[in-house]
């Protein structure tokens, strides 16, 4: 009888264990193995500790189950000085031989993940916690993959037999069960934007869009999206995108349907001679704000309620050098910020090149934003 009791207890424990494991496992399309990731251009976290990796070289999006799911409500402050030198040393090289391509914060654990490219072409995924940098092992993991190439036909080659096609991922975000990917082609100068339902299924359903915006009411401008986020404006979901020449453009998400050409509404012109680098949406009290990092301008803040109020579309060219137009925005006292992500609801983690040339990873509370 005692033996039977133990047997039943063990069985029940096993069932509970399996049930609890399944509850947290990503559903559908995942397999165990080593993903063939050839490059890491962009990172974004999805649900349940799933990290999306945008791989330009293989024109794919990988969903990786990081198993990093222990929930931390309030993230500890991040402050790592000379992060590039520290990473380079751990990779056996110097800072001049690496580029930090992207950073992403796991919304559950609040741990920072960084994609690093070595000058010899190798890509590495790292996690950063406190002062500790750890490589993320991508061997024998649970993952799922989505191929972006529409046509699996053989690519054209040059005289030396090298493939010519490039489809570089410029940004990647996850929202409401969908992975959104903006990309640049080395062929046509236009933006391809893809909305991919997640979990990925064998029967792929994706919307491929060409989206453009009207510049100053006269010229229709096809141009690649550099970075984007999504937001609720007046109860409607929008894609908030920034192009390579810094206008801020809104697209209603429900209009982004496969095979359509969608024209966006230009709501801000944030100055010439600049390329947007990263956009995030942050909460400040009850208010949602957009934070944008730039190549040649300080970090900018736009209140979503101002975007909601701004009903117009820019109709006149900005004629004064370096001037701006459209929705109100505030420049923040942060320059040379290369990467941004939301650390938690009130903090932002920044990768910033300091005046003395140091590259620091640090977090800032909402009083700065």
């Amino acid at each position: 009888m005692k033996k039977l009791f133990y047997f039943v207890a063990v069985c029940m424990s096993a069932v509970l264990l399996v049930a609890s494991t399944n509850r947290h496992a990503p559903s559908g399309g995942f397999e165990n193995g080593t993903p063939d990731i050839q490059s890491i251009s962009a990172l974004a976290f999805g649900p349940d500790g799933v990290l999306f990796v945008g791989d330009s070289k293989s024109a794919s999006v990988f969903a990786i189950d990081t198993k990093d799911k222990v929930v931390v409500d309030k993230a500890p402050a991040v402050d790592m000085k000379n992060v590039d030198q520290k990473i380079a040393s751990l990779l056996g090289t110097t800072a001049s031989n690496i580029v930090i391509q992207d950073i992403a914060v796991n919304p559950l654990s609040k741990k920072v993940y960084a994609a690093v490219q070595h000058s010899n072409g190798t890509h590495v995924l790292l996690s950063i916690e406190g002062q500790k940098i750890v490589p993320v092992d991508l061997k024998n993991i649970s993952y799922s993959v989505f191929s972006i190439n529409n046509a699996p036909a053989e690519d054209a080659k040059d005289q030396r037999g090298r493939p010519l096609r490039v489809w570089a991922i410029s940004d990647l975000k996850y929202t409401d069960g969908k992975v959104m990917v903006s990309g640049l082609s080395n062929q046509e100068f236009s933006s391809t934007f893809r909305v991919i339902p997640f979990p990925f299924t064998s029967k792929q359903d994706q919307a491929s869009l060409e989206i453009y915006h009207a510049a100053h009411g006269r010229y229709e401008t096809y141009s690649p999206i550099k970075t984007f986020t999504t937001a609720d404006l007046n109860g409607k979901k929008y894609l908030v995108a920034s192009y390579t020449c810094t206008p801020l453009v809104l697209f209603p998400l429900d209009e982004l349907k496969s095979g359509t050409h969608v024209k966006g509404r230009t709501v801000g012109e944030f100055g010439s001679g600049n390329t947007p680098l990263d956009i995030i949406t942050l909460k400040k009290g009850d208010e949602s704000i957009l934070i944008m990092a730039n190549s040649s301008r300080p970090v900018m803040r736009v209140k979503y309620k101002n975007l909601e109020r701004y009903e117009g579309s820019l109709t006149e060219p900005v004629t004064e050098s370096y001037a701006t137009a459209g929705v109100d925005f505030v420049t923040l006292p942060f320059v040379n910020v290369l990467q941004l992500d939301k650390l938690d609801d009130t903090q932002v983690v920044l990768l910033q090149r300091r005046v003395n040339g140091d590259l620091d990873l640090w977090s800032s509370g909402d009083r700065w934003f």
Binding site: S41, L91, G121, P135, R165, N186, E188, F189, Y219
Partner: protein, 368 residues
């Protein structure tokens, strides 16, 4: 005499100290560990360490007691794995070692050996093979260059090495679009470099402020510096230059109806030669044009571009049959200024008529 004694004593002391230091160093390293580099595809992917140098070290302690460090200042242990293969310990870093750097093997934190990863042979040094467009007269709203290298190059810092000089003296600033990630082909040997589109597009702020990146009637030199290294750490053999002259703006879409076909004879595998009337985009010419029979079957064959990308030559694998064929041209085919078959690069909606929106344009030709 006393002086000689003191000198003798000092010499003996110095000699003793010298031997002590040598002995101390030898005691520290204790063994001559002959490291050797493990190469794969011209990359230093690991180190081989003789197991015999660590006879007392249990197998399961190797990764705790040994570590590899970059020999430069106070460096952390390099990320990597140790594994034991009979009489060899193999260390594989997660990223191949960097050529030209020295690495040290530490046992319990003490340096016991070191090794230099050699620079690559200059024989293998990369070169710039070609730059497209090939023409030496280019429109002032030119959109992009393709730079073809002989080897995969270091990515991410292209604009450190590529510059544009105007009239042989002035560097043209902010002329290229600074994109991250950069646009490289899969193996990293072809770079696409956009001229800042904000400066090409009319009425956008950069073009108002800075003007178009290229000025009509001026000479330019595209300069690729030999400081640029390939992925193995080898620098370009020499600087590369491409000189060109800038002519008028091209605001018109390419028109396949004006192309002149030189149709081959049926029963031969002679090439179909098409004169395009203007140079078109190198990559899109190869990607966006197909030859099909009337049943829609795409013909296999070889594509060649001549006359500075203004002549398209298709040689089929199988002889032409007598009859009608189709040349299918995707609308995304562009000229050098980004004007495609459906629309010009920037469209003035107040003056231009409605766009034709076709995915594929077709020209038929018949073989006799």
């Amino acid at each position: 005499m006393v002086l000689v004694w003191f000198r003798l004593r000092d010499s003996v002391v110095l000699l003793l100290m010298f031997f002590l230091i040598i002995w101390g160093c030898a005691g520290r390293s204790n063994k001559k560990v002959a490291l050797s580099v493990l190469w794969e595809n011209d990359r230093a992917v690991g180190l081989e360490i003789p197991r015999a140098n660590f006879p007392d070290m249990p197998d399961d302690s190797v990764s705790q007691l040994l570590s590899i460090h970059l020999l430069q200042g106070e460096e952390s242990a390099v990320f990597g794995d140790f594994s034991i293969h009979e009489d060899i310990i193999i260390y594989r870093p997660i990223v191949p070692f960097t050529r030209g750097f020295m690495y040290g093997l530490q046992e319990k934190g003490r340096l016991v050996s070191s090794i230099a990863i050699p620079l690559g042979s200059r024989v293998d040094a990369p070169t710039v093979n070609r730059v497209y467009p090939s023409q030496d007269t280019l429109p002032y709203n030119l959109l992009k260059f393709y730079i073809h290298f002989s080897k995969p190059m270091r990515e991410g810092k292209s604009l450190h090495y590529v510059t544009l000089l105007k009239d042989g003296k002035d560097t043209v600033h902010s002329v290229f679009l600074d994109l991250q990630p950069e646009l490289w082909n899969k193996d990293g040997s072809i770079l696409t470099l956009w001229l800042d589109p904000g400066r090409i597009k009319r009425h956008l702020q950069p073009s108002q402020r800075l003007g178009e990146p290229l000025k009509k009637g001026h000479s330019y030199r595209l300069f690729v510096s030999s400081g640029w290294q390939d992925k193995s750490g080898n620098s370009l053999v020499r600087d590369f230059t491409k000189d060109f002259y800038v002519s008028v703006r091209d605001s018109l879409s390419p028109d396949p109806n004006g192309w002149i076909f030189n149709v081959p004879e049926a029963g031969t595998t002679q090439p179909l030669v098409i004169s395009l009337n203007e140079p078109l985009d190198f990559i899109l010419l190869k990607e966006a044009i197909r030859v099909a029979d009337l049943n829609g079957n795409i013909l296999s064959g070889m594509v060649e571009l001549r006359n500075e990308e203004s002549t398209y030559i298709f040689t089929p694998e199988v002889a032409w049959l007598k009859g009608i064929y189709e040349l299918q041209i995707e609308s995304r085919l562009e000229d050098l200024s980004g004007n495609n078959l459906n629309r010009p690069f920037d469209r003035d909606i107040s003056t231009v008529k409605a766009l034709t929106e076709k995915d594929v344009y077709v020209r038929e030709f018949s073989t006799q």
